[in-house]
Subunit: 153 residues, 2 copies
DNA sequence: GCTGTTATGACATTGTAATTGTCAATATGA
DNA sequence: TCATATTGACAATTACAATGTCATAACAGC
């Protein structure tokens, strides 16, 4: 029998707070996107490209853990809006690499900067250590939950 | 100009981890529900009833922060499956209170117990203080993000 | 009690995110 | 060269949730 202590209940609550947190976060992001032609899902593509460099659609799909067919839609939107462009892929002739245009890079840089500025406000009152530890908990818990859910499928 | 330090980047990452965390959590919950006739959304109704007692559909909707029409569907499913029942509402004759049946209470108790047991494994290696602090960060950040997103609408 | 307003349940419609399935074209690798 | 895998394109489907509407019924002020 497990000793169901406070620790465990806190963790349970933390995990269940992930949905409200996500919703609040996405609402904020959406608000920050107001005025630009970007959508939240286009933003996700630009962010990955910004952080990890040019990639093919299937590679993006793996990063985002979303099916490639849907990522293709997202990417097509960014292409149509001129935030990204295609260039030759040395590793696969048919699957072009998606890269940020100057416009795309400019806008995603600005958006991320705005978001970080917001985070500076949001984190008010917590120490660097608090935040670092909280992140570590969240990352670890996510990994462990993934492996639990993934088992024996 | 903001000083974009590690703290802020960690917080940004933490916030963006909320989606993967949620997906992993829901996948685990779904797995835990295997074998029962419960769905994830029915589970949500039972959990609120278990924690906060009998409530009307509009009250549940407020708790879950979901529109009452959709909660009505969720509740109807729990009624149809015999996990909940209706009883007279002293405060409103038409809007019955939804309450757990013995079967409903038994199953949600078991599911929560299983989840807490899983949390005991998942939290391995973190101190009570780490978890408590992480929860505090998540709760606070969620509240603050909500208020930011809610402003001037 | 009468009456206007609100709350509720029921149902239909719509929107959006994302998955799944399929197909043809093309690349890749043995 | 040829079998297999990958890719992009597109259609269909599922799931979640919001939104709209309506009739009924409850409530509150008078």
């Amino acid at each position: 029998m497990y000793n169901v202590n406070m620790n465990v209940k806190h963790l349970h609550k933390l995990v269940w707070m992930s949905r409200p947190l996500m919703q609040a976060a996405e609402a904020c992001v959406e608000k920050g996107l107001g005025g630009t032609d970007l959508t939240v899902r286009m933003r996700a593509v630009l962010e990955i490209l910004r952080q990890y460099g040019d990639q093919s659609v299937p590679q993006l799909a793996a990063q985002l853990e979303i099916k490639r067919q849907y990522v293709q839609l997202m990417v097509n939107e960014t292409l149509a809006s001129g935030f990204t462009d295609q260039r030759a892929n040395p590793r696969h002739k048919r699957s072009k690499l998606i890269c940020l245009t100057d416009r795309g890079r400019h806008i995603i840089d600005r958006i991320i900067a705005d978001e970080l500025a917001l985070m500076a406000d949001i984190g008010e009152g917590f120490s660097d250590d608090d935040i670092a530890k909280a992140l570590e908990v969240v990352l670890t818990v996510t990994e462990r939950l993934k492996s639990v859910a993934g088992e024996s499928r």
